[in-house]
Amino acid sequence: MQPLIAGLVRNRKALVGMIILLIIVLIALAAPLLTEYDPAARVGRPHQPPSAEHWLGTTRIGQDVFARLIYGARTSLAVGFGAGLLITVLGTALGIIAGYRGGKTDEAISFFTNMVLVVPNLPLLLVLASFIGQASPLVIAVILGCTSWAWGARVTRAETLSVKQKDFVKSAEMMGEPRWRIMTFEIFPNLISIVGINFIGSVIFAIITEATLEFLGLGDPKTVSWGMMLYNAQKASALSVGAWWDILTPCFALALLGIGLSLLNFAVDEIANPRLRTGNSMSRWSALIRSGEGRL
Protein backbone atom coordinates (compact mmCIF):
# COMPACT_ATOMS: atom_id res chain seq x y z
CA MET A 1 0.00 0.00 0.00
CA GLN A 2 2.67 2.49 1.06
CA PRO A 3 4.85 2.11 -2.04
CA LEU A 4 1.77 2.32 -4.25
CA ILE A 5 0.79 5.69 -2.81
CA ALA A 6 4.35 6.97 -2.75
CA GLY A 7 4.72 5.88 -6.38
CA LEU A 8 1.49 7.60 -7.39
CA VAL A 9 2.61 10.87 -5.87
CA ARG A 10 5.85 10.81 -7.86
CA ASN A 11 4.38 9.61 -11.19
CA ARG A 12 3.68 12.35 -13.71
CA LYS A 13 0.87 10.46 -15.45
CA ALA A 14 -0.80 9.87 -12.11
CA LEU A 15 -0.53 13.54 -11.23
CA VAL A 16 -2.21 14.74 -14.42
CA GLY A 17 -4.89 12.05 -14.10
CA MET A 18 -5.52 12.99 -10.49
CA ILE A 19 -5.90 16.66 -11.33
CA ILE A 20 -8.39 15.95 -14.14
CA LEU A 21 -10.42 13.67 -11.90
CA LEU A 22 -10.34 16.10 -9.01
CA ILE A 23 -11.55 19.01 -11.15
CA ILE A 24 -14.46 16.95 -12.49
CA VAL A 25 -15.40 15.79 -8.99
CA LEU A 26 -15.28 19.35 -7.61
CA ILE A 27 -17.38 20.69 -10.46
CA ALA A 28 -19.93 17.93 -9.93
CA LEU A 29 -20.12 18.65 -6.21
CA ALA A 30 -20.35 22.39 -6.66
CA ALA A 31 -22.90 22.22 -9.49
CA PRO A 32 -25.62 24.27 -7.73
CA LEU A 33 -23.09 27.03 -7.05
CA LEU A 34 -21.90 27.17 -10.65
CA THR A 35 -25.23 27.57 -12.40
CA GLU A 36 -28.60 29.02 -11.55
CA TYR A 37 -30.44 26.84 -14.05
CA ASP A 38 -32.35 23.66 -13.35
CA PRO A 39 -30.78 21.03 -15.64
CA ALA A 40 -34.15 19.45 -16.39
CA ALA A 41 -36.16 22.59 -16.96
CA ARG A 42 -36.83 24.52 -20.12
CA VAL A 43 -34.95 27.76 -19.54
CA GLY A 44 -34.46 29.25 -22.98
CA ARG A 45 -35.35 29.07 -26.61
CA PRO A 46 -34.46 25.82 -28.38
CA HIS A 47 -30.98 25.22 -29.84
CA GLN A 48 -29.40 28.52 -28.95
CA PRO A 49 -25.65 28.65 -29.62
CA PRO A 50 -23.32 29.40 -26.69
CA SER A 51 -23.79 32.90 -25.31
CA ALA A 52 -23.19 34.88 -22.12
CA GLU A 53 -26.55 33.71 -20.89
CA HIS A 54 -26.17 30.07 -21.80
CA TRP A 55 -22.45 29.32 -21.74
CA LEU A 56 -22.77 26.15 -23.75
CA GLY A 57 -26.03 26.92 -25.52
CA THR A 58 -29.35 25.17 -25.15
CA THR A 59 -30.81 21.83 -26.22
CA ARG A 60 -33.62 21.26 -28.68
CA ILE A 61 -36.18 21.68 -25.95
CA GLY A 62 -34.43 24.69 -24.45
CA GLN A 63 -32.55 23.19 -21.52
CA ASP A 64 -29.26 24.76 -20.51
CA VAL A 65 -26.41 22.56 -21.77
CA PHE A 66 -23.90 23.76 -19.19
CA ALA A 67 -26.28 22.98 -16.32
CA ARG A 68 -26.91 19.51 -17.76
CA LEU A 69 -23.17 19.00 -18.17
CA ILE A 70 -22.23 19.72 -14.58
CA TYR A 71 -25.20 17.98 -13.01
CA GLY A 72 -24.68 15.07 -15.41
CA ALA A 73 -21.14 14.67 -14.09
CA ARG A 74 -22.68 13.55 -10.81
CA THR A 75 -24.46 10.69 -12.53
CA SER A 76 -21.45 9.57 -14.53
CA LEU A 77 -19.19 9.64 -11.50
CA ALA A 78 -21.71 7.94 -9.25
CA VAL A 79 -22.43 5.14 -11.72
CA GLY A 80 -18.75 4.79 -12.56
CA PHE A 81 -17.50 4.53 -9.02
CA GLY A 82 -20.51 2.59 -7.74
CA ALA A 83 -20.44 -0.02 -10.47
CA GLY A 84 -16.64 -0.02 -10.47
CA LEU A 85 -16.63 -0.83 -6.76
CA LEU A 86 -19.18 -3.60 -7.20
CA ILE A 87 -17.27 -5.11 -10.11
CA THR A 88 -14.01 -4.98 -8.18
CA VAL A 89 -15.44 -6.45 -4.98
CA LEU A 90 -17.05 -9.36 -6.84
CA GLY A 91 -14.03 -10.00 -9.08
CA THR A 92 -11.51 -9.80 -6.24
CA ALA A 93 -13.53 -12.01 -3.91
CA LEU A 94 -14.16 -14.67 -6.54
CA GLY A 95 -10.57 -14.52 -7.78
CA ILE A 96 -9.04 -14.90 -4.32
CA ILE A 97 -11.42 -17.69 -3.33
CA ALA A 98 -10.81 -19.60 -6.56
CA GLY A 99 -7.06 -19.13 -6.40
CA TYR A 100 -6.66 -19.89 -2.72
CA ARG A 101 -9.14 -22.72 -2.25
CA GLY A 102 -8.22 -24.50 -5.47
CA GLY A 103 -9.76 -27.86 -6.30
CA LYS A 104 -13.45 -28.11 -7.11
CA THR A 105 -14.18 -24.56 -5.95
CA ASP A 106 -11.57 -23.25 -8.33
CA GLU A 107 -12.81 -25.36 -11.22
CA ALA A 108 -16.38 -24.19 -10.74
CA ILE A 109 -15.50 -20.52 -10.42
CA SER A 110 -13.02 -20.61 -13.29
CA PHE A 111 -15.46 -22.32 -15.60
CA PHE A 112 -18.12 -19.78 -14.74
CA THR A 113 -15.65 -16.91 -15.20
CA ASN A 114 -14.50 -18.11 -18.59
CA MET A 115 -18.07 -18.56 -19.66
CA VAL A 116 -18.99 -15.00 -18.72
CA LEU A 117 -15.89 -13.82 -20.59
CA VAL A 118 -16.99 -15.30 -23.91
CA VAL A 119 -20.58 -14.10 -23.77
CA PRO A 120 -20.42 -10.67 -25.41
CA ASN A 121 -20.90 -8.11 -22.71
CA LEU A 122 -22.50 -5.14 -24.42
CA PRO A 123 -25.18 -7.12 -26.30
CA LEU A 124 -26.01 -8.96 -23.07
CA LEU A 125 -26.36 -5.66 -21.25
CA LEU A 126 -28.56 -4.36 -24.04
CA VAL A 127 -30.86 -7.35 -23.79
CA LEU A 128 -31.02 -7.02 -20.01
CA ALA A 129 -31.65 -3.31 -20.15
CA SER A 130 -34.27 -3.64 -22.83
CA PHE A 131 -36.24 -6.08 -20.73
CA ILE A 132 -35.99 -3.85 -17.71
CA GLY A 133 -36.96 -0.88 -19.85
CA GLN A 134 -35.92 2.72 -19.14
CA ALA A 135 -33.21 1.72 -16.73
CA SER A 136 -32.31 4.27 -14.09
CA PRO A 137 -28.62 4.91 -13.40
CA LEU A 138 -28.85 2.80 -10.25
CA VAL A 139 -30.24 -0.16 -12.17
CA ILE A 140 -27.56 0.25 -14.83
CA ALA A 141 -24.87 0.30 -12.16
CA VAL A 142 -26.21 -2.87 -10.58
CA ILE A 143 -26.46 -4.86 -13.80
CA LEU A 144 -23.01 -3.64 -14.84
CA GLY A 145 -21.64 -4.82 -11.51
CA CYS A 146 -23.24 -8.22 -11.82
CA THR A 147 -22.11 -8.95 -15.37
CA SER A 148 -18.64 -7.45 -15.69
CA TRP A 149 -16.53 -8.93 -12.89
CA ALA A 150 -15.07 -11.81 -14.92
CA TRP A 151 -11.86 -10.19 -16.17
CA GLY A 152 -10.98 -9.04 -12.65
CA ALA A 153 -11.69 -12.49 -11.25
CA ARG A 154 -9.37 -14.07 -13.80
CA VAL A 155 -6.36 -11.83 -13.19
CA THR A 156 -6.86 -11.86 -9.43
CA ARG A 157 -6.98 -15.65 -9.43
CA ALA A 158 -3.73 -15.86 -11.40
CA GLU A 159 -2.02 -13.47 -9.00
CA THR A 160 -3.40 -15.28 -5.95
CA LEU A 161 -1.88 -18.52 -7.19
CA SER A 162 1.59 -17.01 -7.00
CA VAL A 163 1.09 -15.18 -3.68
CA LYS A 164 -0.25 -18.39 -2.15
CA GLN A 165 3.19 -19.99 -2.53
CA LYS A 166 4.91 -17.32 -0.45
CA ASP A 167 6.36 -18.12 2.95
CA PHE A 168 4.19 -15.78 4.99
CA VAL A 169 1.08 -17.55 3.74
CA LYS A 170 2.57 -20.91 4.52
CA SER A 171 3.53 -19.85 8.02
CA ALA A 172 0.07 -18.39 8.66
CA GLU A 173 -1.33 -21.76 7.64
CA MET A 174 1.02 -23.54 10.00
CA MET A 175 -0.18 -21.36 12.85
CA GLY A 176 -3.69 -22.51 12.09
CA GLU A 177 -5.18 -19.21 11.04
CA PRO A 178 -8.66 -19.58 9.61
CA ARG A 179 -8.87 -19.47 5.84
CA TRP A 180 -10.93 -16.31 5.62
CA ARG A 181 -8.32 -14.51 7.72
CA ILE A 182 -5.53 -15.67 5.45
CA MET A 183 -7.46 -14.55 2.40
CA THR A 184 -8.30 -11.11 3.81
CA PHE A 185 -5.19 -10.27 5.79
CA GLU A 186 -2.36 -12.19 4.13
CA ILE A 187 -3.31 -12.48 0.48
CA PHE A 188 -5.47 -9.45 -0.25
CA PRO A 189 -2.90 -6.82 0.82
CA ASN A 190 -0.43 -8.34 -1.63
CA LEU A 191 -2.83 -7.98 -4.52
CA ILE A 192 -3.40 -4.30 -3.97
CA SER A 193 -2.00 -3.11 -7.29
CA ILE A 194 -3.97 -5.67 -9.30
CA VAL A 195 -7.07 -4.62 -7.39
CA GLY A 196 -6.25 -0.98 -8.10
CA ILE A 197 -5.88 -1.59 -11.83
CA ASN A 198 -9.07 -3.62 -11.81
CA PHE A 199 -10.93 -0.88 -9.97
CA ILE A 200 -9.87 2.00 -12.18
CA GLY A 201 -10.42 -0.08 -15.32
CA SER A 202 -13.87 -1.02 -14.10
CA VAL A 203 -14.76 2.60 -13.36
CA ILE A 204 -13.76 3.55 -16.91
CA PHE A 205 -15.72 0.64 -18.29
CA ALA A 206 -18.80 1.50 -16.24
CA ILE A 207 -18.77 5.15 -17.25
CA ILE A 208 -18.37 4.31 -20.93
CA THR A 209 -20.98 1.58 -20.83
CA GLU A 210 -23.54 3.64 -18.98
CA ALA A 211 -23.16 6.40 -21.54
CA THR A 212 -23.40 3.87 -24.36
CA LEU A 213 -26.54 2.21 -23.02
CA GLU A 214 -28.21 5.56 -22.54
CA PHE A 215 -27.08 6.74 -25.93
CA LEU A 216 -28.73 3.67 -27.42
CA GLY A 217 -32.01 4.68 -25.83
CA LEU A 218 -32.10 2.28 -22.92
CA GLY A 219 -31.91 4.88 -20.19
CA ASP A 220 -34.60 6.61 -18.22
CA PRO A 221 -35.44 9.84 -20.11
CA LYS A 222 -35.76 11.75 -16.84
CA THR A 223 -32.12 11.12 -15.94
CA VAL A 224 -29.68 14.00 -16.22
CA SER A 225 -26.48 12.35 -17.40
CA TRP A 226 -23.90 12.59 -20.16
CA GLY A 227 -25.28 9.50 -21.87
CA MET A 228 -28.80 10.95 -21.95
CA MET A 229 -27.37 14.22 -23.30
CA LEU A 230 -25.87 12.24 -26.16
CA TYR A 231 -29.11 10.37 -26.71
CA ASN A 232 -31.24 13.51 -26.77
CA ALA A 233 -28.81 15.37 -29.00
CA GLN A 234 -28.65 12.46 -31.44
CA LYS A 235 -32.45 12.16 -31.42
CA ALA A 236 -32.71 15.88 -32.15
CA SER A 237 -30.28 15.43 -35.08
CA ALA A 238 -28.04 17.98 -33.42
CA LEU A 239 -25.19 17.37 -35.83
CA SER A 240 -27.17 17.75 -39.03
CA VAL A 241 -28.91 20.91 -37.85
CA GLY A 242 -25.57 22.36 -36.81
CA ALA A 243 -26.14 22.38 -33.05
CA TRP A 244 -22.64 21.08 -32.39
CA TRP A 245 -22.57 22.37 -28.80
CA ASP A 246 -25.43 20.05 -27.92
CA ILE A 247 -23.52 16.91 -28.86
CA LEU A 248 -19.84 17.85 -28.55
CA THR A 249 -20.21 18.98 -24.93
CA PRO A 250 -20.96 15.53 -23.48
CA CYS A 251 -18.44 14.08 -25.96
CA PHE A 252 -15.58 16.14 -24.62
CA ALA A 253 -16.67 15.61 -21.04
CA LEU A 254 -16.64 11.84 -21.47
CA ALA A 255 -13.34 11.96 -23.31
CA LEU A 256 -11.73 14.06 -20.59
CA LEU A 257 -12.94 11.84 -17.78
CA GLY A 258 -11.83 8.76 -19.72
CA ILE A 259 -8.36 10.20 -20.30
CA GLY A 260 -7.97 11.24 -16.67
CA LEU A 261 -8.85 7.79 -15.40
CA SER A 262 -6.70 6.05 -18.00
CA LEU A 263 -3.68 8.09 -17.01
CA LEU A 264 -4.20 6.92 -13.44
CA ASN A 265 -4.56 3.35 -14.63
CA PHE A 266 -1.34 3.43 -16.65
CA ALA A 267 0.44 4.94 -13.68
CA VAL A 268 -0.67 2.16 -11.34
CA ASP A 269 0.40 -0.35 -13.99
CA GLU A 270 3.86 1.21 -14.16
CA ILE A 271 4.22 1.19 -10.41
CA ALA A 272 3.11 -2.42 -10.18
CA ASN A 273 5.43 -3.51 -12.99
CA PRO A 274 8.83 -1.83 -12.56
CA ARG A 275 9.94 -2.93 -16.01
CA LEU A 276 7.41 -0.57 -17.60
CA ARG A 277 8.75 2.41 -15.70
CA THR A 278 10.84 5.01 -17.45
CA GLY A 279 12.08 6.93 -14.49
CA ASN A 280 14.59 9.65 -14.01
CA SER A 281 17.46 7.22 -14.54
CA MET A 282 16.91 7.18 -18.30
CA SER A 283 17.34 10.92 -18.66
CA ARG A 284 20.38 10.89 -16.39
CA TRP A 285 21.81 8.06 -18.49
CA SER A 286 21.28 9.98 -21.73
CA ALA A 287 22.81 13.10 -20.24
CA LEU A 288 25.92 11.17 -19.17
CA ILE A 289 26.29 9.63 -22.64
CA ARG A 290 25.95 13.03 -24.28
CA SER A 291 28.51 14.63 -22.02
CA GLY A 292 30.95 11.80 -22.84
CA GLU A 293 31.18 10.55 -19.27
CA GLY A 294 30.61 7.01 -20.34
CA ARG A 295 29.61 4.77 -23.20
CA LEU A 296 28.09 1.42 -23.98
Binding site: V119, F215, G258, I259, D269
Partner: protein, 325 residues
Protein backbone atom coordinates in the same frame (compact mmCIF):
# COMPACT_ATOMS: atom_id res chain seq x y z
CA UNK B 1 -5.81 -31.18 -31.16
CA UNK B 2 -6.98 -32.18 -27.68
CA UNK B 3 -6.65 -28.55 -26.68
CA UNK B 4 -8.83 -27.35 -29.53
CA UNK B 5 -11.44 -30.04 -28.89
CA UNK B 6 -11.62 -29.02 -25.25
CA UNK B 7 -12.13 -25.44 -26.31
CA UNK B 8 -14.90 -26.46 -28.69
CA UNK B 9 -16.71 -28.25 -25.89
CA UNK B 10 -16.35 -25.17 -23.76
CA UNK B 11 -17.77 -22.94 -26.48
CA UNK B 12 -20.78 -25.20 -26.83
CA UNK B 13 -21.41 -24.86 -23.11
CA UNK B 14 -21.06 -21.09 -23.36
CA UNK B 15 -23.52 -20.97 -26.21
CA UNK B 16 -26.07 -22.98 -24.28
CA UNK B 17 -25.55 -20.64 -21.34
CA UNK B 18 -26.30 -17.61 -23.51
CA UNK B 19 -29.36 -19.34 -24.91
CA UNK B 20 -30.47 -20.14 -21.38
CA UNK B 21 -30.14 -16.53 -20.32
CA UNK B 22 -32.25 -15.64 -23.31
CA UNK B 23 -34.89 -18.11 -22.22
CA UNK B 24 -35.08 -17.17 -18.59
CA UNK B 25 -34.72 -13.40 -18.80
CA UNK B 26 -38.28 -12.60 -19.85
CA UNK B 27 -39.54 -15.15 -17.33
CA UNK B 28 -37.59 -13.63 -14.46
CA UNK B 29 -38.80 -10.13 -15.16
CA UNK B 30 -41.59 -8.84 -12.95
CA UNK B 31 -44.95 -9.04 -14.68
CA UNK B 32 -46.21 -11.29 -17.42
CA UNK B 33 -43.40 -12.08 -19.89
CA UNK B 34 -45.78 -12.45 -22.81
CA UNK B 35 -47.21 -9.08 -21.98
CA UNK B 36 -43.73 -7.54 -21.94
CA UNK B 37 -42.52 -9.23 -25.06
CA UNK B 38 -45.40 -9.08 -27.42
CA UNK B 39 -47.85 -6.39 -26.44
CA UNK B 40 -46.17 -3.06 -25.86
CA UNK B 41 -44.87 -3.00 -29.40
CA UNK B 42 -47.52 -0.94 -31.10
CA UNK B 43 -47.70 -3.44 -33.94
CA UNK B 44 -50.89 -5.39 -34.21
CA UNK B 45 -50.31 -9.11 -34.48
CA UNK B 46 -52.96 -11.59 -35.47
CA UNK B 47 -53.77 -14.32 -33.02
CA UNK B 48 -52.07 -17.03 -35.06
CA UNK B 49 -48.93 -14.99 -35.60
CA UNK B 50 -48.78 -14.41 -31.88
CA UNK B 51 -49.15 -18.12 -31.34
CA UNK B 52 -46.23 -18.94 -33.65
CA UNK B 53 -44.09 -16.33 -31.94
CA UNK B 54 -44.88 -17.77 -28.57
CA UNK B 55 -44.03 -21.22 -29.80
CA UNK B 56 -40.52 -20.21 -30.84
CA UNK B 57 -39.83 -18.64 -27.50
CA UNK B 58 -41.06 -21.64 -25.62
CA UNK B 59 -44.16 -19.95 -24.29
CA UNK B 60 -46.17 -23.09 -24.74
CA UNK B 61 -48.19 -24.95 -22.21
CA UNK B 62 -46.50 -27.50 -20.04
CA UNK B 63 -43.87 -27.50 -17.32
CA UNK B 64 -40.89 -25.15 -17.50
CA UNK B 65 -38.34 -27.80 -18.43
CA UNK B 66 -40.47 -28.88 -21.35
CA UNK B 67 -40.73 -25.28 -22.52
CA UNK B 68 -36.99 -25.00 -22.17
CA UNK B 69 -36.33 -28.08 -24.30
CA UNK B 70 -38.73 -26.90 -27.01
CA UNK B 71 -36.90 -23.60 -27.01
CA UNK B 72 -33.44 -25.19 -27.21
CA UNK B 73 -34.59 -27.39 -30.05
CA UNK B 74 -35.87 -24.43 -32.04
CA UNK B 75 -32.57 -22.59 -31.46
CA UNK B 76 -30.46 -25.49 -32.66
CA UNK B 77 -32.59 -25.90 -35.75
CA UNK B 78 -31.81 -22.28 -36.54
CA UNK B 79 -35.28 -20.99 -35.81
CA UNK B 80 -35.09 -17.68 -34.00
CA UNK B 81 -38.72 -16.72 -34.53
CA UNK B 82 -40.11 -13.81 -36.48
CA UNK B 83 -39.38 -10.15 -36.17
CA UNK B 84 -42.18 -8.06 -34.78
CA UNK B 85 -41.08 -4.89 -36.52
CA UNK B 86 -40.58 -6.51 -39.91
CA UNK B 87 -43.30 -9.09 -39.45
CA UNK B 88 -43.45 -11.70 -40.94
CA UNK B 89 -39.73 -11.80 -41.83
CA UNK B 90 -37.89 -14.44 -39.80
CA UNK B 91 -35.27 -13.08 -37.43
CA UNK B 92 -32.54 -15.10 -39.13
CA UNK B 93 -33.23 -13.31 -42.39
CA UNK B 94 -33.27 -9.87 -40.81
CA UNK B 95 -29.97 -10.61 -39.10
CA UNK B 96 -28.38 -12.48 -41.99
CA UNK B 97 -28.14 -9.40 -44.18
CA UNK B 98 -26.77 -7.27 -41.41
CA UNK B 99 -24.25 -9.91 -40.42
CA UNK B 100 -22.39 -9.57 -43.71
CA UNK B 101 -21.88 -5.85 -43.27
CA UNK B 102 -20.81 -6.22 -39.67
CA UNK B 103 -18.36 -8.99 -40.38
CA UNK B 104 -16.85 -7.01 -43.24
CA UNK B 105 -16.55 -3.84 -41.18
CA UNK B 106 -15.39 -5.51 -37.99
CA UNK B 107 -13.09 -7.98 -39.66
CA UNK B 108 -11.28 -5.38 -41.71
CA UNK B 109 -11.03 -2.95 -38.83
CA UNK B 110 -9.68 -5.61 -36.48
CA UNK B 111 -7.14 -6.76 -39.03
CA UNK B 112 -5.93 -3.25 -39.79
CA UNK B 113 -5.76 -2.09 -36.21
CA UNK B 114 -4.19 -5.28 -34.92
CA UNK B 115 -1.46 -5.14 -37.56
CA UNK B 116 -0.88 -1.43 -37.15
CA UNK B 117 -1.09 -1.45 -33.35
CA UNK B 118 1.22 -4.43 -33.02
CA UNK B 119 3.74 -2.85 -35.33
CA UNK B 120 3.67 0.46 -33.45
CA UNK B 121 3.98 -1.40 -30.15
CA UNK B 122 7.02 -3.35 -31.38
CA UNK B 123 8.84 -0.23 -32.53
CA UNK B 124 7.91 1.74 -29.41
CA UNK B 125 9.23 -0.99 -27.13
CA UNK B 126 12.38 -1.42 -29.20
CA UNK B 127 13.11 2.31 -29.06
CA UNK B 128 12.07 2.61 -25.48
CA UNK B 129 12.09 6.15 -24.15
CA UNK B 130 12.53 7.72 -27.59
CA UNK B 131 10.26 10.44 -28.95
CA UNK B 132 8.51 7.78 -31.04
CA UNK B 133 7.78 5.73 -27.93
CA UNK B 134 6.37 8.72 -26.09
CA UNK B 135 4.15 9.69 -29.03
CA UNK B 136 2.81 6.15 -29.41
CA UNK B 137 2.23 5.67 -25.68
CA UNK B 138 0.50 8.97 -25.12
CA UNK B 139 -1.50 8.65 -28.33
CA UNK B 140 -2.60 5.18 -27.28
CA UNK B 141 -3.76 6.41 -23.88
CA UNK B 142 -5.87 9.08 -25.55
CA UNK B 143 -7.31 6.85 -28.25
CA UNK B 144 -8.22 3.99 -25.93
CA UNK B 145 -9.72 6.01 -23.12
CA UNK B 146 -12.21 7.90 -25.25
CA UNK B 147 -15.49 5.94 -25.52
CA UNK B 148 -16.36 4.61 -28.98
CA UNK B 149 -19.56 6.66 -28.98
CA UNK B 150 -17.57 9.82 -28.53
CA UNK B 151 -14.96 8.95 -31.15
CA UNK B 152 -17.70 8.09 -33.65
CA UNK B 153 -19.60 11.29 -33.04
CA UNK B 154 -16.49 13.45 -33.26
CA UNK B 155 -15.31 11.75 -36.46
CA UNK B 156 -18.80 12.11 -37.91
CA UNK B 157 -18.95 15.74 -36.93
CA UNK B 158 -15.62 16.75 -38.40
CA UNK B 159 -15.26 14.61 -41.49
CA UNK B 160 -18.94 14.15 -42.25
CA UNK B 161 -20.68 17.38 -41.35
CA UNK B 162 -18.04 20.08 -41.05
CA UNK B 163 -15.60 19.15 -43.80
CA UNK B 164 -18.21 17.32 -45.82
CA UNK B 165 -15.61 14.89 -47.14
CA UNK B 166 -17.48 11.68 -46.54
CA UNK B 167 -21.07 10.47 -46.48
CA UNK B 168 -22.72 10.49 -43.05
CA UNK B 169 -24.66 7.27 -43.29
CA UNK B 170 -25.45 4.00 -45.04
CA UNK B 171 -23.09 1.39 -46.40
CA UNK B 172 -23.41 2.54 -50.02
CA UNK B 173 -25.23 5.12 -52.08
CA UNK B 174 -28.91 4.14 -51.63
CA UNK B 175 -29.57 5.13 -55.24
CA UNK B 176 -27.32 2.32 -56.46
CA UNK B 177 -28.49 -1.25 -56.80
CA UNK B 178 -26.31 -3.75 -54.97
CA UNK B 179 -24.31 -5.35 -57.76
CA UNK B 180 -20.81 -6.55 -58.39
CA UNK B 181 -19.94 -3.41 -60.28
CA UNK B 182 -17.07 -1.00 -59.88
CA UNK B 183 -19.35 1.93 -59.05
CA UNK B 184 -21.07 -0.02 -56.33
CA UNK B 185 -17.86 -1.31 -54.80
CA UNK B 186 -16.32 2.16 -54.84
CA UNK B 187 -19.41 3.50 -53.17
CA UNK B 188 -19.18 0.81 -50.49
CA UNK B 189 -15.55 1.68 -49.83
CA UNK B 190 -16.31 5.39 -49.75
CA UNK B 191 -19.09 4.85 -47.24
CA UNK B 192 -16.99 2.50 -45.17
CA UNK B 193 -14.09 4.89 -44.59
CA UNK B 194 -15.48 6.85 -41.64
CA UNK B 195 -16.80 3.87 -39.63
CA UNK B 196 -13.52 2.13 -40.36
CA UNK B 197 -11.48 5.13 -39.29
CA UNK B 198 -13.45 5.30 -36.05
CA UNK B 199 -13.06 1.64 -35.23
CA UNK B 200 -9.36 1.70 -36.03
CA UNK B 201 -8.88 4.75 -33.79
CA UNK B 202 -10.68 3.01 -30.96
CA UNK B 203 -8.82 -0.29 -31.33
CA UNK B 204 -5.26 0.45 -32.49
CA UNK B 205 -4.14 2.09 -29.26
CA UNK B 206 -5.11 -0.91 -27.16
CA UNK B 207 -3.21 -3.33 -29.37
CA UNK B 208 -0.18 -1.03 -29.40
CA UNK B 209 -0.06 -0.77 -25.60
CA UNK B 210 -0.48 -4.51 -25.14
CA UNK B 211 2.27 -5.33 -27.61
CA UNK B 212 4.60 -2.69 -26.21
CA UNK B 213 4.22 -3.93 -22.65
CA UNK B 214 4.61 -7.56 -23.64
CA UNK B 215 7.75 -6.71 -25.60
CA UNK B 216 9.25 -4.75 -22.72
CA UNK B 217 8.57 -7.64 -20.37
CA UNK B 218 10.47 -9.94 -22.74
CA UNK B 219 13.41 -7.76 -23.68
CA UNK B 220 15.46 -8.95 -20.70
CA UNK B 221 15.01 -12.63 -21.61
CA UNK B 222 18.16 -14.60 -22.25
CA UNK B 223 17.25 -15.71 -25.74
CA UNK B 224 16.92 -12.11 -26.83
CA UNK B 225 20.30 -11.17 -25.37
CA UNK B 226 21.70 -14.28 -27.06
CA UNK B 227 20.15 -13.11 -30.35
CA UNK B 228 22.09 -9.88 -30.00
CA UNK B 229 25.24 -11.67 -28.88
CA UNK B 230 25.06 -13.76 -32.03
CA UNK B 231 25.66 -10.62 -34.06
CA UNK B 232 22.35 -10.80 -35.87
CA UNK B 233 20.94 -7.67 -37.42
CA UNK B 234 18.77 -5.47 -35.23
CA UNK B 235 15.68 -6.15 -37.29
CA UNK B 236 16.11 -9.91 -37.07
CA UNK B 237 16.40 -9.81 -33.29
CA UNK B 238 13.51 -7.39 -33.01
CA UNK B 239 11.14 -9.41 -35.20
CA UNK B 240 12.17 -13.04 -34.80
CA UNK B 241 13.43 -13.05 -31.24
CA UNK B 242 11.46 -10.34 -29.45
CA UNK B 243 8.24 -9.62 -31.35
CA UNK B 244 7.60 -13.19 -32.38
CA UNK B 245 7.57 -14.25 -28.74
CA UNK B 246 5.73 -11.18 -27.48
CA UNK B 247 3.01 -11.96 -30.00
CA UNK B 248 1.89 -14.96 -27.95
CA UNK B 249 0.52 -13.06 -24.93
CA UNK B 250 -0.74 -10.40 -27.32
CA UNK B 251 -2.80 -12.90 -29.26
CA UNK B 252 -4.28 -14.35 -26.12
CA UNK B 253 -5.31 -10.87 -25.03
CA UNK B 254 -6.90 -10.47 -28.45
CA UNK B 255 -9.55 -12.95 -27.32
CA UNK B 256 -10.62 -10.57 -24.59
CA UNK B 257 -10.45 -7.60 -26.94
CA UNK B 258 -13.03 -9.19 -29.23
CA UNK B 259 -15.77 -8.11 -26.83
CA UNK B 260 -14.54 -4.53 -27.15
CA UNK B 261 -14.44 -4.84 -30.92
CA UNK B 262 -18.01 -6.07 -30.97
CA UNK B 263 -19.22 -3.32 -28.65
CA UNK B 264 -17.31 -0.69 -30.61
CA UNK B 265 -18.68 -1.79 -33.94
CA UNK B 266 -22.19 -1.84 -32.50
CA UNK B 267 -21.96 1.79 -31.45
CA UNK B 268 -20.19 2.87 -34.62
CA UNK B 269 -22.88 1.35 -36.79
CA UNK B 270 -25.57 3.21 -34.92
CA UNK B 271 -23.80 6.54 -35.23
CA UNK B 272 -23.01 6.07 -38.91
CA UNK B 273 -26.36 4.49 -39.63
CA UNK B 274 -24.53 1.52 -41.09
CA UNK B 275 -26.86 -1.40 -41.85
CA UNK B 276 -25.01 -3.95 -39.69
CA UNK B 277 -26.06 -5.99 -36.69
CA UNK B 278 -25.54 -3.13 -34.27
CA UNK B 279 -27.88 -0.89 -36.13
CA UNK B 280 -30.52 -3.62 -36.41
CA UNK B 281 -30.22 -4.11 -32.68
CA UNK B 282 -30.68 -0.40 -32.12
CA UNK B 283 -33.78 -0.30 -34.29
CA UNK B 284 -35.08 -3.40 -32.56
CA UNK B 285 -34.61 -1.81 -29.16
CA UNK B 286 -36.44 1.33 -30.22
CA UNK B 287 -39.29 -0.82 -31.58
CA UNK B 288 -39.17 -3.23 -28.61
CA UNK B 289 -38.74 -6.02 -31.15
CA UNK B 290 -37.81 -8.67 -28.58
CA UNK B 291 -37.40 -11.64 -30.93
CA UNK B 292 -34.77 -9.68 -32.88
CA UNK B 293 -33.11 -8.47 -29.68
CA UNK B 294 -32.88 -12.01 -28.35
CA UNK B 295 -31.73 -13.38 -31.69
CA UNK B 296 -29.00 -10.74 -31.69
CA UNK B 297 -27.59 -11.95 -28.40
CA UNK B 298 -27.32 -15.45 -29.82
CA UNK B 299 -25.80 -14.34 -33.12
CA UNK B 300 -23.30 -12.09 -31.37
CA UNK B 301 -22.43 -14.86 -28.96
CA UNK B 302 -21.75 -17.13 -31.91
CA UNK B 303 -19.67 -14.40 -33.54
CA UNK B 304 -17.71 -14.01 -30.34
CA UNK B 305 -17.19 -17.74 -29.98
CA UNK B 306 -16.05 -18.13 -33.58
CA UNK B 307 -13.62 -15.26 -33.13
CA UNK B 308 -12.34 -16.84 -29.91
CA UNK B 309 -11.87 -20.12 -31.68
CA UNK B 310 -9.90 -18.44 -34.46
CA UNK B 311 -7.71 -16.90 -31.77
CA UNK B 312 -7.25 -20.34 -30.19
CA UNK B 313 -6.21 -21.84 -33.49
CA UNK B 314 -3.74 -19.08 -34.27
CA UNK B 315 -2.33 -19.42 -30.78
CA UNK B 316 -1.68 -23.09 -31.36
CA UNK B 317 -0.12 -22.29 -34.72
CA UNK B 318 2.09 -19.61 -33.22
CA UNK B 319 3.33 -21.51 -30.18
CA UNK B 320 5.26 -24.68 -30.97
CA UNK B 321 4.94 -25.73 -27.34
CA UNK B 322 1.22 -26.27 -27.85
CA UNK B 323 1.61 -28.08 -31.14
CA UNK B 324 1.60 -31.79 -30.56
CA UNK B 325 2.91 -33.97 -33.29
Amino acid sequence: MAFLLRRLGFYLAAFIAAATINFFLPRLMPGDPIQIMFSSTGTELSAENLASLKLTFGFVDGPLWQQYLTYLKSIFTGDLGRSIKYFPLPVTEVLGHALIWTVALMGTATLISFTLGTFLGILAAWRRGSVFDVVVSVGAIFATSVPAVVTSLIVLFFFGFTLNWFPTGYSADPALDPAFSLTYILSVLYHGILPMLTLCTVLTGGFAVTMRNNMINLLGEDYIVMGRAKGLSDSRVMIWYAARNALLPTVSSLAIAIGTVLGGSLVTEVVFNYPGLGNILYQAILARDYPVIQGQLLIMTIAMLVANFIVDISYVLLDPRLRRT
